[in-house]
C-alpha cells in the first residue's frame, strides 16, 4: 500500500511538472505521507521556490482519491496563488478561489462545492471571518473539510515580523480542529522562536519539516552614513546604471511619493506604491513592474507578500528595515529566477526614529486598552469606534488598533454585535508581560539588523543564521565576500546638492477638510450637518516644507524652538513659493492664526510676508479663551473640540476679497479649517491656507 501510494504520488508529480523523470525533493514525500497517512499537523519551513505547493497539491489529490472532502487553502497571496491554481489543474485538481475580485463566480463555485466538484478552495485569511462566506461555503466545505493548508504561517506568531491579526483566528481554528483532519502550515521565513511559537499556537503536536534558506543568486551589500539627499543622489545614479527592474523599499508613504517624484525629475521611470493608493492603482502598478514598464516601484511594505516577479533584478532599501527577518523576506523577492540580483540596504539616519515609532505603536498601551474597556463596560448597548473616538482622546486608528487587539484576545473581553462593540463576560487583564516581552524582542530584532549592517562576515550567512539555518556556507558574492562595495556610484556631491534643492522646493499641498468632527462644534454652531458646507471650507493650501526635512524643514525647527523668530530667508522662501503657486482668485490680504503660547511668532512672520507680497495684513482673528496645545490633543475630534468657541473674527476692510490664512505648522488641519469657517461665516472671501511646514504622514 505504501508503495502504491508513492507510485501514485510520483505519477501526480510527473503530471504537475510535465516531466516523467521528476523526483520528489528532499522532504516533500515525507510531508505528503505525514498528511495523507498519519493525518498529521505539519509545519514546513522551506525557502520560496522549494515546492511547498507540490506537497499540498499531491496530498489533496491523494486524499480526494481516498474519499476525503475538499482542501481549504488559506493564503494572503491571492493574486500570486492564482497562477498556482492553474498549476493544480495539471494534477487533475479542480482548484478555485473566492475573493473580492471574482464575485460573479461565487454562486457557481458554491454550487460546485455542494456537488462535491471542487478539490481545493483558496481564500484569504479575512474571508474566514466573513459571515456570508461561512454560510455559503459552510455546508459543503466545513462539513467535510479534508485538509487545511495555512500559507505564510509565520503570520500566526506575534513574535513574527509580519503578524497579522486575522491569523490569530486561523490559529484558534486549527487548535479546535479535531485530529481526524490533517493540517499543513507553510512559511519561508521563521526563525527558531517563531517556529516554536507557531507550533504552540497551532495547539502543539506539530511536526516541523525544515531546510536550507540561503539564496544563491543574491548579491548583498549595505551602505551606511549617507544623508537623505545623498541617498537620493545615490539612487538616481545607481538606477540609471543597473540592469533590469526592481523595487525600492521605503518606510513611509511620504517617502514613497517624494522619492518617486525626485527620480522622475531625474528622468528615471518609477512609480510610488503604498496603501494610500486606490484599489485599482495598486494592481496596475504591480502589473507595470511585472511587464518591466517601469524601472522600479518605490514601495512601502504594502507591496508585500502578494507580489512575485521571478526576474526581479534588485531590491534596494532606502531605509533599513525593522528587523533582519523583515529584510530577508523583502530582499528575498529579488532574483528568484535570475543568476544574479542585487540586495542593497541603505542605512538612513531617520530610520531609528521611525522604527522606534513602529515598535512602540505595534501594540496598544495598557492605558488605552483600559480606557476602551472602561467605556464599553459603562455602556448598555455597546459603542461604535467613532463613538469611542468621541470619548477617548486618541487618534481613531489607534482606537481601532486597540479594538482589534482586544477582539483577537482569547478569550476576548469584547465582541462585535452589529456595528457596536460590547463587553463580554470575560475577565481580562492587560497582558503586560507578553507586551513587554514582545517589545524586547522587537528591539533585539532591530539590534540583529544593525549587526548585519556592520558587515562583519558573509552577509548571506548572517541572514541565514538569523533565520535558524546554521549550515549556510559563505556565499562568495556579497560585499564582504568580494571585499568591495558592489555598486560604486562615484562622486555624488553635485547630485546631492541638487537633491537638497529638490527637497526644499517641492510643492506640498494642504487638502481641505470636508467633514466636521463627531459631535460637531456646538459653541461655534458648526456641525449640525456632518459635512462642512462648501462655502465654509478652505481652498486647497500649500506648505513651504515638510517638517525637519530638507534644508528649510530643518531650519524651521531651529527658528521656531531655538530662535523664536522666523528669519528673513524664511519670509523670502515663503513669498517665492506663494508667487510660484499663484492661487486663484489672487489673495488680497493675509491673516495669521493666533496662539497662546507663541503670541507673536506667526503674526510677526505674516506681517513681513504680507509686505513681501504687497498685500494687506490684518489681525483678523482673536482668542476668546485659552486652549490646550493642539499637539497634546491625540485625535481629530479632540483637536477640533479643543478649538470650539475659542476664536472670534475681528472684521477688517476688504475681507470680502480672497485672502491667505497663515500658520507655522499644519498637522490635523483643524486650526485652519475652523479659522476659515469663522472668517467665511463673517463675510470673508475664499481662504487659502499657507503654512511653513507640514507634519509627516506615517503609514
Amino acid at each position: 500500500m505504501e508503495n502504491g501510494l508513492r507510485a501514485r504520488a510520483e505519477q501526480l508529480l510527473h503530471a504537475a511538472l510535465s516531466d516523467q523523470s521528476a523526483q520528489f525533493r528532499e522532504g516533500q514525500w515525507d510531508a505528503i505521507t505525514a498528511l495523507v497517512r498519519d493525518r498529521a499537523r505539519l509545519l514546513l519551513v522551506r525557502r520560496t521556490g522549494w515546492g511547498k505547493s507540490i506537497v499540498y497539491f499531491v496530498a489533496t489529490a491523494l486524499l480526494r482519491e481516498a474519499g476525503a472532502g475538499p482542501t481549504l487553502l488559506i493564503s494572503p497571496l491571492i493574486a500570486l496563488m492564482r497562477n498556482q491554481l492553474q498549476a493544480a489543474q495539471a494534477l487533475g485538481l479542480r482548484a478555485v478561489t473566492i475573493n473580492s475580485t471574482n464575485k460573479e463566480e461565487w454562486t457557481d463555485i458554491y454550487a460546485a462545492l455542494n456537488r462535491d466538484e471542487i478539490d481545493l478552495l483558496l481564500v484569504s485569511p479575512e474571508r474566514l471571518a466573513n459571515r456570508t462566506f461561512l454560510e455559503n461555503a459552510g455546508a459543503a466545505l466545513f462539513s467535510r473539510l479534508g485538509l487545511l493548508v495555512v500559507d505564510e504561517a509565520h503570520c500566526i506568531s506575534d513574535w513574527g515580523h509580519d503578524f497579522r491579526p486575522h491569523y490569530r483566528m486561523i490559529a484558534s481554528f486549527v487548535r479546535f480542529l479535531p485530529p481526524n483532519i490533517p493540517m499543513l502550515a507553510t512559511t519561508a521565513t521563521a526563525d527558531d522562536v517563531v517556529v516554536e511559537d507557531v507550533s504552540g499556537q497551532l495547539g502543539g503536536n506539530v511536526q516541523v519539516n525544515r531546510g536550507p534558506l540561503g539564496r544563491d543568486s543574491l548579491r548583498l551589500d549595505v551602505v551606511s552614513n549617507m544623508s537623505y539627499a545623498a541617498r537620493l543622489a545615490w539612487l538616481a545614479t545607481v538606477l540609471a546604471r543597473l540592469d533590469g527592474t526592481g523595487i525600492i523599499y521605503v518606510l513611509t508613504k511620504r517617502d514613497a511619493n517624494l522619492i518617486a517624484e525626485w527620480l522622475q525629475s531625474q528622468g528615471i521611470n518609477v512609480l510610488p506604491y503604498h496603501a494610500g493608493l486606490d484599489d485599482a492603482d495598486r494592481p496596475a502598478r504591480e502589473a507595470a513592474l511585472l511587464r518591466d514598464d517601469v524601472k522600479a516601484l518605490i514601495a512601502t511594505t504594502a507591496l508585500a507578500m502578494g507580489f512575485d516577479k521571478p526576474n526581479l533584478a534588485f531590491v534596494i532599501h532606502f531605509q533599513s528595515t525593522q528587523s533582519i527577518i523583515h529584510y530577508y523576506q523583502q530582499v528575498g523577492r529579488a532574483g528568484r529566477a535570475l543568476d544574479t540580483a542585487f540586495g542593497i540596504m541603505l542605512m538612513g539616519s531617520e530610520d531609528a526614529e521611525i522604527i522606534d515609532f513602529f515598535v512602540r505603536n505595534a501594540l496598544p498601551p495598557a492605558e488605552l486598552v483600559g480606557e476602551v474597556l472602561e467605556a464599553l463596560e459603562k455602556s448598555d448597548e455597546g459603542l461604535s469606534t467613532s463613538a469611542l473616538a468621541g470619548i477617548i482622546n486618541v487618534p481613531p486608528e489607534r482606537i481601532k488598533k486597540a479594538i482589534q487587539f482586544l477582539a483577537l484576545e482569547e478569550p476576548s473581553p469584547i465582541t462585535r454585535i452589529g456595528t457596536r462593540y460590547n463587553r463580554t463576560a470575560v475577565d481580562y487583564a492587560y497582558p503586560i508581560d507578553r507586551v513587554d516581552r514582545l517589545a524586547q524582542r522587537r528591539y533585539a530584532e532591530r539590534t540583529s539588523l544593525l549587526e548585519y549592517a556592520k558587515k562583519d562576515g558573509c552577509l548571506m550567512q548572517i541572514l541565514s543564521r538569523a533565520l535558524g539555518d546554521h549550515s549556510a556556507p559563505r556565499c562568495g558574492r556579497c560585499a564582504t565576500c568580494v571585499g568591495a562595495s558592489l555598486l560604486d556610484p562615484g562622486d555624488l556631491s553635485e547630485l546631492t546638492a541638487k537633491a537638497e534643492d529638490f527637497l526644499s522646493r517641492r510643492e506640498i499641498r494642504l487638502p481641505a477638510r470636508r467633514k466636521w468632527p463627531e459631535g460637531g462644534l456646538p459653541a461655534f454652531g458648526f456641525g449640525s450637518n456632518m459635512n462642512i458646507p462648501a462655502d465654509l471650507r478652505t481652498q486647497e493650501g500649500r506648505a513651504l516644507a515638510l517638517w525637519r526635512l530638507g534644508t528649510i524643514g530643518r531650519r524651521l525647527r531651529i527658528e521656531k524652538y531655538v530662535n523664536g523668530y522666523f528669519s528673513d530667508d524664511t519670509v523670502e522662501a515663503a513669498a517665492r513659493r506663494i508667487r510660484e503657486w499663484s492661487p486663484q482668485p489672487a489673495p488680497a490680504w493675509i491673516v495669521p492664526t493666533v496662539s497662546d503660547r507663541h503670541p507673536t511668532l506667526v503674526p510677526e512672520f505674516a506681517r513681513r510676508l504680507a509686505a513681501a507680497l504687497g498685500v494687506r495684513y490684518a489681525d483678523g482673528l482673536r482668542k476668546t479663551r485659552p486652549t490646550e496645545e493642539q499637539k497634546g490633543m491625540q485625535n481629530s475630534s479632540f483637536r477640533a473640540r479643543n478649538l470650539d468657541g475659542s476664536l472670534e473674527v475681528i472684521p477688517f476692510d476688504g475681507m470680502e476679497q480672497p485672502g491667505l490664512l497663515v500658520d507655522d505648522m499644519y498637522d490635523s488641519g483643524w486650526t485652519v479649517t475652523v479659522a476659515t469657517a469663522l472668517l467665511r461665516d463673517a463675510g470673508a472671501g475664499p481662504v487659502f491656507p499657507f503654512t511653513l511646514s507640514k507634519a509627516a504622514d506615517k503609514e
Binding site: R39, G69, L72, L134, E135, G138, A139, L141, F142, S143, R144, L145, L148, M169, S172, F173, V174, R175, F176, L177, P178, P179, N180, I181, Q201, G203, S379, D380, E409, E410, P411, S412, T415, I417, N422, R423, T424, A425, V426, D427, A429, Y430, P431, I432, D433, R434
Partner: protein
C-alpha cells in the same frame, strides 16, 4: 499582576462528543442530524463495551466503527447508521469554526467525558444527562445546588416583590438560586441574589452567547456571582421546545424548588414543576390571596406551601423521605463503603436505615444506586453486598476508621 491566560482548548473526547451531538451552528438541508441524548447514550455504552473512548472514533478504522455500531441496540441501530456517524464525525471544520467563536466569548464546554461535567446531571439525569454543557462563569457553581426559583415571565407586583425577597434571603443565607434565566421571576430571583453577594445559576434556553454579554448578566458573571449554562448551541434562537426542555435541568441542578407564580395546567413553569414533583423533588409554592390560582393547583400535585420564614424550607427539605434522586455525589462516595461493609450481612432497608441513622428514603436512594453500579444485589426484601467489591471496599474503610 497579569495572569497568563491559557488559550482555550477542548479534549479529544469532547471534540468527538461535540461532533456527534452538537448542532454546530445553522444546520443545512442535507446535514446529518446530531445524535439525540438516547442515541449518544447507547453509543457511549457500545464504545465502553469495546474498551474505547469517544476520541477513539476520530482515529478509528472503518472496521472498528462497524463493530461499535453493530453493538448498538437494534432500535438505536435503525437510526444510527454508519453513514450518519461518518458524516457527523467529518464535521471537524464546522466544529473548529464554532468552538473558536464560542470560546473567544468566554464560553466553556464540558462534555460527559470531562471531569468538569456537573455531577448532579450525571446522578439525577443519568442516561438522559445531556452530553454537552456550555457555560459562562465559574464552573464550580454547578456543584453548589440551591433553590430552583421559577415563575411567570410577566409577574404581578405581588410575585415580583416576593421574588426579590427570596433573592435577598438566598444571598443572606448562602443559598444559591437556580433559575431558567428567563425574563420575569427567573431573572429577578437570579440577579437579586447575585447583586446581594450570593451566587446564582441560570440555565438558559436561547443564545447563551448573546445573553452573556448583557450588561447586568456580564457584571455578575465577572464578579463570579453568576454562571449561565445551556445544553443548546450557544447561538440557538429561542424555541418553546428548548424552553420546556431545560426545566428538568434547572431542577436537576438545584436541591429543591420554589414556584412563585404559575398558570394552571399550561406553560413552562407548570410543566416543569409537575415534572419535578413526579421525580420526587421537593417543590415549594407561594400561596396566599394574591398568589396565582395555578399555585394552589400545584399543591394538589404534591407541592408544599412555602413557609413564611423562608429558612424553614432548608430545615424541612433534606429529611423528605421521598427525595430519592437527590443524592449528593460526595456524601454518596463516602457512604457507599460503609453501607457495603454493613451489607456483608444481608439486611432490609429499614434495618440499614436504623443502623446508620438515616431516613429510609435516603437509604433507598443509595441502595438503588449501588444496585445500578452492580455492587449490591437484592433478594426478597434483603440487600447484600457483592462479594469482591465488598472486600476491597471494606479494607479501605477499615483503614479509614481504624
Amino acid at each position: 499582576m497579569s495572569t497568563v491566560v491559557e488559550a482555550p482548548s477542548v479534549s479529544e473526547d469532547a471534540s468527538a462528543i461535540l461532533l456527534l451531538c452538537a448542532m454546530l451552528g445553522k444546520r443545512h438541508r442535507d446535514a446529518p442530524a446530531p445524535l439525540t441524548v438516547r442515541e449518544y447514550d447507547a453509543l457511549a455504552e457500545a464504545l465502553h463495551h469495546h474498551g474505547l473512548r469517544p476520541r477513539s472514533l476520530l482515529r478509528a478504522e472503518r472496521g472498528t466503527l462497524t463493530s461499535v455500531a453493530g453493538a448498538l441496540p437494534p432500535k438505536i441501530r435503525e437510526h444510527v447508521s454508519l453513514d450518519r456517524l461518518g458524516r457527523l464525525l467529518e464535521r471537524g471544520g464546522h466544529l473548529a469554526l464554532a468552538l473558536s467563536k464560542w470560546t473567544s466569548h468566554g464560553i466553556w464546554i464540558s462534555t460527559r467525558a470531562d471531569a468538569t461535567y456537573p455531577s448532579r446531571y450525571k446522578q439525577r439525569l443519568s442516561h438522559s444527562a445531556p452530553p454537552i454543557v456550555f457555560g459562562v462563569g465559574p464552573q464550580s457553581l454547578l456543584e453548589s445546588g440551591g433553590l430552583a426559583v421559577v415563575g411567570s415571565r410577566e409577574p404581578d407586583t405581588f410575585s415580583e416583590s416576593f421574588t426579590r425577597r427570596v433573592g435577598e434571603w438566598a444571598a443572606r443565607s448562602g443559598v444559591q438560586i437556580v433559575s431558567g434565566a428567563a425574563r420575569g421571576v427567573d431573572e429577578i430571583a437570579m440577579l437579586t441574589c447575585a447583586m446581594h453577594g450570593g451566587t446564582a445559576l441560570g440555565v438558559v434556553a436561547e443564545s447563551l452567547l448573546r445573553l452573556s454579554t448583557r450588561r447586568d448578566f456580564r457584571t455578575q458573571i465577572l464578579a463570579n456571582h453568576l454562571t449561565l449554562v445551556s445544553s443548546f448551541d450557544p447561538e440557538a434562537p429561542f424555541t418553546t421546545g428548548n424552553a420546556m426542555g431545560r426545566n428538568r435541568w434547572v431542577y436537576a441542578l438545584a436541591d429543591r424548588g420554589l414556584v412563585v407564580a404559575c398558570s394552571e395546567g399550561r406553560g413552562g413553569t407548570w410543566a416543569g414543576a409537575i415534572e419535578a414533583l413526579k421525580h420526587s423533588v421537593r417543590v415549594f409554592v407561594k400561596t396566599g390571596n394574591a398568589a396565582r390560582p395555578g399555585n394552589d393547583a400545584l399543591l394538589q400535585h404534591g407541592a408544599t406551601p412555602a413557609p413564611d420564614d423562608l429558612s424553614d424550607m432548608l430545615s424541612e427539605a433534606p429529611e423528605q423521605s421521598t427525595v430519592s434522586p437527590l443524592v449528593d455525589h460526595d456524601i454518596f462516595s463516602a457512604a457507599a463503603p460503609i453501607i457495603l461493609t454493613v451489607l456483608r450481612k444481608p439486611s432490609t432497608a429499614k434495618e440499614l436505615a436504623a443502623l446508620l441513622e438515616l431516613t429510609p428514603g435516603q437509604v433507598k436512594a443509595w441502595l438503588g444506586k449501588l444496585i445500578t453500579d452492580g455492587k449490591v444485589v437484592k433478594s426478597g426484601s434483603r440487600f447484600s453486598a457483592v462479594r469482591t467489591d465488598a472486600l476491597a471496599e471494606a479494607e479501605q474503610i477499615s483503614l479509614l476508621t481504624g
